[in-house]
Amino acid sequence: MTDHKSGIVQGATGAWEMVIGLEVHAQVISEAKLFSGASATFGGAPNSKVSLVDAAFPGMLPVINGVCIEQAVRTGLGLKAKINDYSVFDRKNYFYADLPAGYQISQYKQPIVGEGEVVLDMPDGTSRKVGIERLHLEQDAGKSLHDQDPSLSYVDLNRAGVALMEIVSKPDLRTPEEAGAYLRKLRSILRYLGTCDGNMEEGSMRADVNVSVRKSGAPFGTRCEIKNVNSVRFVMHAIEVEAKRQVEILEAGGKIDQETRLYDPNKGETRSMRSKEDAHDYRYFPDPDLLPLVLPAGFVDGLKKSLPELPDEKKARFVSEYGLPPYDAMVLVGEKASADFYEAVAKGRDAKQAANWVMGDLFGLLNKAGKDIAASPVNPKALGGLIDLIADGTLSGRLAKDVFAFMFESGKSAAEIVAEKGLKQVSDTGALEAAVDAVLAKETDKVAEYKSGKVKLLGYFMGQVMKATGGKANPGAVQDIIKNKLGG
């Protein structure tokens, strides 16, 4: 038995604890590649975004793209990490058809960003810090295409040389749930910063997962690295099945081989890719084509000043400024677009009510429609307009929900829908009194019960009146009239 939340694998010999570390490869958002002027954007015909440098033609030399350096430093700042003013690019040597130079330019001993941290927001509202070991810049490889020809492989170098940030966590994670929360939080920070789009499906963010198990309090066990897992759900599942596999081996008296494994989402298992003995000797050494990278004075401070408000700060502000519960604040700040949407709605209105509308009705319908907040048919102004109609008594809460559904469907404003459908709340006392009278006249038995002390029937009468008025009656006014008429 394994538990997502506890990170405990219950074996025959007792409970085993999972120890998890993640290496995330995040593709840097930049116009050009890390060391060449070729376009770094996604897509395009194969080999249409390849410079002579990317294809490693003789005599071609890398030149650092300053934008990628800025992006890495901004990310480092977002991870509250130490920025290294002096860093070195190294060559990681290995042969593969989609690695044109026969080496990847990466950073080995002296990365651009050192230790930092990420705060995890757990679903129960608690927070927990996870250490960042380092962030370094490196080139992405091209893609080998093995399905184009029965006997030949083809190579697409569009991706070759695109900048990647490798973000390495400390082995601080203990449960699949935490690993999931870490990935989501990291992705959120990257998106806020605009340094990586975080699209795991397109491969612009990929995770290598290191997993080991141990008995509580024991030293770390031997770890296995699961390569290139491409969704949060798969990462969580891969950890679970890998931990289980390791516990089974250990309990059967075996030992874990340190190796690289692949996760197969179809079979729901991990399998060996290459053992430690087959591991490449990458022969790292400083790239002699590039001088050490020295950040000029004031460079980091300048970027620090231009940093946007990040999820943690925004969450704290939502709690203090809008009086939201931490959980609501966490949900709203997850995506910058949601947070911005919320703030536009909340401005000058009841902040809690605004949060309920955004998190409840809006997120509910978006989810159902499979839409992202950027594509929401209801914009913040329209939702604000709806809330205003509740505030001025034009709409009841119940009517407002109906109006919102129409707004979502048609993209029209609340006022337009109210006018079109005649959904305006009835507060006219004369009309409401008539409706109440009609209900009370019909329900003589219940009126008698009420009068004999069963005051809970007030709700029943209210419901009948609302039904009779098609939901348009102002509930407050109706309640007052009923109470008045029944001498309550």
Partner: protein, 493 residues
């Protein structure tokens, strides 16, 4: 063959400006000389059409008064410089049919200044060699022969084709590259002038890489002044090479006439090596005396880590080479030998494409970078390198330049050392330290050996102080008055 091929670049430019000769005449004379000297095997590719087209434009520009710095000067280009649309082989089978769609920065600057390309010059494969015998296109013969002998000698290497072509009057000047002495040693062996400037002075963009932290483009010509003229055109910062220096290029020619009066010239004791012929030592002393006569002060100096330079070089250079040459894999360009899978394709392609010396250095380089050996070899070599650079920095606090022999011997016979890599590597003993420290070095012909072969002296300078190197070299040139030239035994009528 013709007096036109005897001109220096400075003389040719003066004659062209006076319009007493035309660029067409000058170019045609050189094309004829190239064609008549094929037995030297100096050229891998001859490009007479390019040369004639450039000459035509040069004459038009002279007529309009729009001539550029070296308008109409025919040059040879070491076949390590990529030339757009013209085969660039690096002396290797693996690039035998490679035609780059781009031009190196250095050659582009030469063309932009009006030079004409006669062709691509032979070299040791990937510039790895000191005798030009590792070329996949056959060795180059030195135009010089020992007095009374017919035995063919090496022109030195790796820029053997460049040195031979300039010495044999096939071109007025030629480009070279120098990673451990590949310009200075061949210049010494062929009785011409060769300069390796400071690392970072010329762009490496478009030069097939051997060892990136040591490779530097330079030039051969028959006078110190000519090398100063050409280097002035080739040098300068290039945003396409991150290691090229953002330092202004001075007027090198202007430095030539400044003399050495009052300068302090270092004579390093560690350059007196065992087994060095007495005549080389004597020439070195003579050179020192010339400088003293011209008003310089001689200072005995010590560069204590010199003896570690060669071993450090033969760790660092192969290490970088092993990585730089990984791109020749048969996948995107160059030779491909089909295989049953990717690994087989790599193995067949690289076995067929690389010669023995290149394979040896790839193996050495791979070894010294391997886990468990990195610290003992590569890292230690880098430390030695830092110490060598510090040796020079210390000495340069007291002296303006250093004088040494260029090579420990005169040109040797083809085949004489090719079986013994260590003996071959020892040829670089005086030139390698300047590469490790990134300093400029110039070889000037200073005399003849007893059997009639040219010998050079080397002037080393401070980083980015090529002006001083030219200044001192010019005085040696004047004092030596080296006028000997090889007999044109190679010429076919």
């Amino acid at each position: 063959m013709s007096e036109l091929t005897e001109l220096t670049i400075a003389e040719a430019l003066a004659a062209l400006r006076r319009r007493s000769i035309s660029a067409k005449e000058l170019t045609d004379a050189h094309i004829a000389a190239v064609e008549a000297a094929r037995s030297l095997n100096a050229f891998i590719v001859e490009t007479p059409l390019h040369a004639r087209a450039a000459a035509k434009e040069a004459d038009a520009r002279y007529a309009k008064g729009e001539a550029r710095a070296i308008e109409g000067i025919p040059l040879g280009i070491k076949d390590l410089f990529c030339t757009k649309g013209v085969g660039t082989t690096a002396g290797s089978n693996i690039l035998r049919n490679f035609v780059p769609p781009y031009e190196s920065t250095v050659t582009q600057k030469l063309w932009d200044a009006g030079a004409a390309m006669l062709g691509k010059l032979n070299l040791d494969e990937f510039a790895m060699g000191s005798s030009n015998e590792t070329s996949a296109f056959g060795n180059v013969a030195n135009p010089w022969r020992r007095k009374g002998e017919n035995c063919k000698l090496t022109p030195g290497g790796s820029s053997g084709g460049s040195a031979a072509a300039v010495a044999a009057r096939l071109c007025l000047g030629a480009t070279g590259t120098d990673t451990g002495g590949s310009i200075r040693q061949p210049a010494s062996f062929t009785g011409i002038v060769g300069i390796k400037p400071t690392y970072g002075r010329c762009s490496r963009y478009g030069i097939v890489a051997f060892a990136s932290s040591l490779d530097q483009a330079g030039v051969f010509a028959r006078s110190v002044e000519d090398t100063a003229i050409l280097l002035g055109v080739m040098a300068g910062h290039d945003p396409k090479d991150s290691t090229s220096a953002k330092i202004a290029v001075p007027d090198f020619s202007a430095a030539l006439s400044r003399g050495v009066k009052g300068l302090r010239i270092g004579i390093p004791k560690e350059y007196r090596v065992d087994g060095m012929p007495a005549e080389i030592d004597a020439l070195w002393k003579k050179g020192a005396a010339w400088l003293k006569d011209a008003g310089a002060e001689l200072v005995d100096v010590s560069l204590p880590h010199t003896k570690y330079a060669l071993p450090a070089y033969y760790v660092v250079a192969p290490a970088e080479a092993s990585s730089n040459l990984a791109r020749y894999d048969g996948v995107r360009f160059g030779l491909r030998q089909p295989g049953k899978d990717l690994t087989d394709l790599y193995e067949r392609t690289r076995a067929a494409g690389f010669g023995k010396e290149v394979r040896r250095r790839i193996m050495i380089g791979t070894y010294v970078l391997s886990a468990g050996y990195y610290d003992a070899y590569y890292l230690k070599a880098q430390k030695v390198r830092a110490l060598i650079a510090r040796d020079f920095a210390e000495v340069y606090k007291n002296v303006d330049a250093i004088l040494t022999p260029t090579a420990p011997s005169a040109a040797f016979a083809l085949g004489e050392k090719s079986a013994d890599p260590i003996a071959m590597y020892l040829n670089d003993v005086f030139t390698v330290p300047a590469n490790l420290a990134g300093l400029p070095g110039l070889s000037v012909p200073a005399g003849l050996s007893a059997d009639g072969l040219p010998l050079g002296l080397q002037v080393l300078g401070k980083a980015f102080d090529e002006e001083m190197v030219f200044r001192v070299g010019r005085v040696i040139e004047q004092q030596a008055a080296f006028a000997a030239k090889p007999e044109a035994w190679w010429r076919v009528a």
